[in-house]
């Protein structure tokens, strides 16, 4: 016997979905979604569970993470209840629930808190950076004000916090999602099989490609290069490529100045994709080209803009390093680049960025249970 919790819907509304209670259960949203199949239904059932306050059902579901937020459902909804935005709000709620500190809840629900946290973090990171270059003019002045050791320690604590949080979150999600659910067909598929399917989806975005294929879709006549699935692919692989390049740099401890060095080449190409993707995503959100891009919250803007700034500053630095320019402006740019990049990493577990881990994980659990082909 499930208990109805009438307060849950007002809680979810704080994460972004304003109108979802207008739903009158016609099911058009579920019908139009290209990612639903016989045993896999969303988003109507989620709206239902949200209205009735069935928190556990929502958090343990895999279908929540199969949605690509394409907005087809929001376009079709006859009550303009915004099911697409509601699914996004639920994911924010889930991410906020997975990490142990409670910071994410505050960030998602309150914009002022978010701004304060981000600003505070940038200051701390900036200070932390100076502790690594103690002989710099500014650093010496700083350490008269604050002890070097304290700042350094603070920085390390913050880094560990994010690391622990994401591990904790992964654990919590795994426990939740491995419970039996409606997509289960009895026999479980092999682990390696599921992993393969996840990698396939990563590389090809095949599931995302099936979205927004209606005759009156905004994307119908447009080339693949500007379509949302490719934009997402660019951002994702752009970031991963840069991550790999950075890791290689770190491991080989020899950040070569030659732009033809393999790691550099990888970095450059990935950087181009990243900037391409984020520029388009920002433009789409500014112009609200479809309902998928109509509701953008502060967390969404921050994520995109930070990635964009990191990309642009990265290019600036690459160019200035290649030309050997050593002006002050480049030092500032370097500082900005590093702060922004580290902030992205630190806020990983507490922001939209966490989807990079949670989505593939959920997809893995889904592929383990379902008989879907892809």
């Amino acid at each position: 016997m499930a208990r109805i919790d009438p307060e849950f819907k007002s809680e979810i509304k704080k994460y972004g979905a304003k109108d979802f209670t207008a739903c009158f259960n016609c099911g058009n949203c579920t019908a139009i979604c290209s990612l639903t199949e016989k045993q896999v239904n969303f988003p109507r059932i989620f709206i239902r569970q949200g209205i009735l306050g069935q928190k556990e059902e929502i958090l343990k579901s895999k279908e929540l993470w199969l949605c690509y937020a394409c907005g087809d459902c929001s376009e079709t909804c006859p009550r303009q209840a915004g099911p697409g935005d509601y699914m996004a709000a639920l994911r924010r709620y889930a991410i906020a629930g997975y990490e142990p500190t409670g910071i994410t809840k505050l960030i998602f629900k309150s914009n002022p808190v978010f701004i304060v946290v981000t600003t505070l973090l940038s200051i701390i990171l900036g200070l932390f950076l100076f502790t690594l270059k103690t002989d710099h003019v500014v650093s010496r002045w700083l350490f008269d004000l604050f002890p070097y050791a304290v700042i350094h320690a603070m920085g390390l604590v913050i880094f560990s916090l994010t690391g622990v949080s994401i591990v904790w979150g992964v654990g919590k999600m795994s426990i939740r999602l491995s419970k039996k659910s409606t997509v289960a067909t009895g026999k479980k598929n092999g682990i390696w099989n599921a992993i393969q399917k996840v990698i396939l989806e990563f590389s090809t975005m095949n599931r995302y490609k099936t979205c927004e294929k209606e005759d009156d879709s905004y994307w119908k006549e447009k080339s693949a290069a500007v379509q949302p699935w490719f934009i997402h692919w660019s951002i994702m692989w752009g970031f991963l490529g840069l991550l790999l390049a950075t890791v290689l740099d770190f491991m080989l401890k020899d950040p070569s100045t030659s732009i033809w060095w393999p790691a550099r080449v990888l970095g450059t190409i990935s950087g181009l994709f990243l900037i391409y993707g984020t520029s388009f995503a920002i433009r789409y959100r500014m112009n609200k080209v479809t309902m998928a891009y109509a509701e953008t919250r502060l967390a969404d803007w921050v994520f995109l803009w930070f990635l964009w700034i990191a990309g642009i500053t990265g290019f600036w630095l690459e160019v200035s390093v290649a030309f050997g320019a050593n002006y002050l402006i480049n030092h500032v740019i370097f500082l900005v680049h590093t702060i922004i990049s580290m902030e992205l990493v630190l806020l990983f577990s507490f922001s939209k960025f966490a989807h990079a881990v949670y989505r593939p994980l959920a997809l893995f659990f889904y592929f383990r249970e379902s008989q879907a082909k892809n």
């Binding site: 109805i4 209670t21 009550r79």
Partner: protein, 663 residues
């Protein structure tokens, strides 16, 4: 019956109808054949019988040729019966010495694929018309004097509103109200949907106008004891205290309204738990509520649950219908409550949401307000229990895969609908108006005659005919008011003379006719020392049910007398000889005599083909250039009637050969 003088000078007009008839029926041939019938002086074809020019021609013919009856063979009488009756009258003959023969809807249009047969049928039909009109009588419309007064039963919103318009149009109106106050159900109500106006205010306004009009007399505490008379002359006996009043009127408008459904004790906890109330009770609760917070029995209400379709839409119960207005009323009240106290949690446990028309906007508003909607199936209704001072509701929600949910609530509102008044059978008995399956008063036709009853002069308005909101009730009662005025404004009301007539000499007063009459139109009468049956001309509808039960054959129906009907049958079944002109041969071929029950044309073609040798179905289809399925159908029918028989299989063992069966 005396031997009536037959009409000997009959004019027959056969219409082309611009091709609608003449494309299929050979109207020229018909005209020629009919000319030789007994009594026919004029037989003509016309292009459009209803056209002005043709009407004038008919009148000229009547006058020049001294015709005493006419037959018009064209379209359905539903279209031009009155047109041609007027033609007859303008020509100088009685309107009932004209008969309409339908050779369009019932002939040319129905048999457009078999023209020869259509022609034969048309000839038969026209012959029947001729013999009928030969035996017809001259009849006069029955004039009934009309009283320019109306009795309105019920002083609710429907009754009062109609009374005001009736009085404005010049009628004397008597409103008879059973209770000691006018206003009916809505005088109890506060804010109404959609205007937000209060029911009390509407009633006050109407009452003010009723009292201001000199033509309206309102009687309260008035009970109807007896209603007698008929259209134009009703007498309503009304008892007020010890007095009896006799109100004379030309018509009666029944606007008695409805009763709210009272749930049985224990239904969803009604009367069992104090916090379970009906929607009307809830409405008055809100009206009387203090401003700060919603209270029930001195306890604060933090959540409300509405359970819909209580006592309605019961597939196996008494009230199978949907009461139409309750969904809107409940949703409207939920929105009202939310406007004042937005922190209250609301649950709607419904079966279907029927906020029809513009009221749909209210449903959207309630959803946006955060009201929770749970849908239940009739077979699994919600359960209300009281556990430790709180009400717990359990329901299987159809919208969430029939999962069972439970929740706490402070108040349960049973959304109940409209049922007929307890005293409606009493009034139905007095007025002799029928009651439908839903126990509301019955109209003649739900679409085409929604405010009239089978009793001439008794009309229905408002919720007494079926669940309606105020707007719909007023629409219906105003519609009835206008119809009533159309009757009462004439000093005389003209009725069709197509009614039952008694032959007083033959009648032995056995009482059987009075027994079967649905309209209570036959009563015994003392006449020259003998008791005979007598028909009330205003009440009789000419349905004809009394005629066959009379053992003495003393009743006939005007225009449907024995002579006329028998004449029609004789005229129709005579065999017609058609002379067919062949296309190739110069000489005329006389085909076999084609009687009314002769074979269809295709059968003749198949027979002719089989005469030349046995054939299979595909071969026949090829030769006759017909669809093989059509050939199969006809051949099998011919087989059934033993006109053909099978004659072995073909080489491939696929099809049978068929041959004509030797008679």
């Amino acid at each position: 019956m005396e031997e009536k003088q037959k009409k000997q000078r009959i004019g027959v007009y056969i219409c082309h109808c611009g091709g609608n008839i003449s494309d299929y029926v050979d109207v020229a041939k018909v005209k020629d054949l009919v000319k030789s019938e007994d009594g026919v002086i004029v037989s003509k074809n016309v292009m459009f019988a209803c056209a002005d020019s043709n009407q004038k021609e008919m009148i000229r013919d009547i006058q020049d040729e001294n015709l005493d009856a006419i037959v018009v063979a064209s379209c359905s009488p539903k279209l031009h019966l009155h047109t041609f009756r007027n033609v007859a009258m303008r020509g100088g003959i009685n309107a009932y010495n004209y008969t309409q023969v339908n050779i369009r809807e019932q002939c040319s249009w129905a048999h457009s694929d078999t023209p020869t047969e259509a022609t034969l049928k048309a000839i038969g039909l026209i012959r029947a018309g001729i013999t009928r009109v030969a035996n017809s009588e001259a009849l006069e419309t029955i004039d009934v004097s009309s009283t320019r007064a109306v009795v309105v039963i019920g002083a609710g919103v429907s009754g009062m509103r109609a009374a005001i318009d009736l009085a404005k149009m010049g009628n004397q109106v008597y409103i008879v109200e059973k209770e000691n106050q006018a206003g009916g159900n809505i005088s109890q109500w506060g804010e109404l949907f959609v205007s937000g106006q209060k029911g009390k205010d509407i009633v006050e306004e109407l009452l003010r106008r009723v009292k201001a009009h000199t033509g309206i007399t309102l009687f309260t505490n008035a009970l109807i004891e007896k209603v007698s008379g008929s259209l134009g002359n009703f007498n309503t006996e009304v008892r007020i205290g010890d007095e009896i009043l006799n109100l004379k009127s030309g018509a009666i408008l029944v606007a008695t309204g409805f009763d709210p459904y009272q749930p049985a004790d224990g239904m969803f906890g009604y009367k069992q738990y104090p916090a379970v109330i009906t929607l009307p009770e809830f409405k008055s609760m809100i009206d009387q509520n203090p401003e700060e917070c919603l209270m029930i029995r001195n306890r604060r209400v933090t959540s409300i649950t509405y359970i819909y379709c209580v006592g309605m839409r019961e597939t196996k119960g008494d009230n199978k219908y949907c009461s139409r207005v309750c969904c809107t009323s409940a949703i409207h009240n939920s929105i009202r409550v939310h406007e004042k106290f937005s922190s209250i949690n609301v649950y709607h446990v419904y079966r279907d949401m029927r906020t029809y028309g513009k009221q749909e906007i209210l449903y959207e508003q309630a959803s946006k307000n955060g009201d929770i909607f749970l849908r239940y199936d009739e077979k699994m209704p919600p359960v209300v229990e009281q556990i430790g001072g709180k009400l717990i509701v359990k329901v299987n929600d159809e919208l969430t895969r029939k999962q069972e949910f439970e929740f706490e609530t402070d108040l349960v509102v049973l959304v109940t609908g409209m049922v007929p008044r307890k005293d409606s059978p009493y009034l139905a008995g007095k007025l002799k108006i029928p009651v439908g399956n839903d126990k509301f008063y019955n109209e003649i036709h739900p679409k085409l005659r929604p405010v009239e009853t089978v009793i001439n002069g008794v009309f229905l308005g408002g919720a007494c005919q079926g669940p309606k909101n105020i707007s719909e009730s007023v629409q219906s009662s105003l519609s009835a008011a206008v119809k009533i005025n159309a009757l009462t404004k004439n000093p005389k009301i003209q009725l069709e003379p197509i009614i039952a007539r008694i032959n007083f000499e033959a009648c032995i007063w056995c009482g059987k006719c009075a027994e079967v009459c649905e309209y209570d139109a036959i009563h015994p009468l003392e006449m020259h020392g003998k008791t005979v049956a007598s028909v009330n001309e205003a009440t009789c509808k000419g349905c004809g049910i009394c005629a066959p039960v009379c053992p003495a054959d003393a009743i006939d129906i005007a225009q449907y007398t024995n002579a006329e009907i028998e004449g029609m049958i004789d005229g129709f079944v005579q065999i017609v000889e058609l002379k067919k002109e062949g296309e190739r041969a110069a000489s005329e071929e006389v085909t076999a005599v084609a009687g009314m029950k002769d074979m269809p044309q295709i059968w003749r073609r198949i027979s002719a083909s089989l005469d030349n040798g046995t054939k299979t179905i595909p071969a026949l289809a090829r030769e006759l250039e017909l669809n093989p399925q059509l050939v199969t159908y006809h051949l099998m029918t011919m087989n059934k009637y033993s006109i053909v028989e099978a004659d072995g299989l073909d080489d491939k063992d696929e099809y049978y050969f068929y041959k004509l069966k030797k008679q």
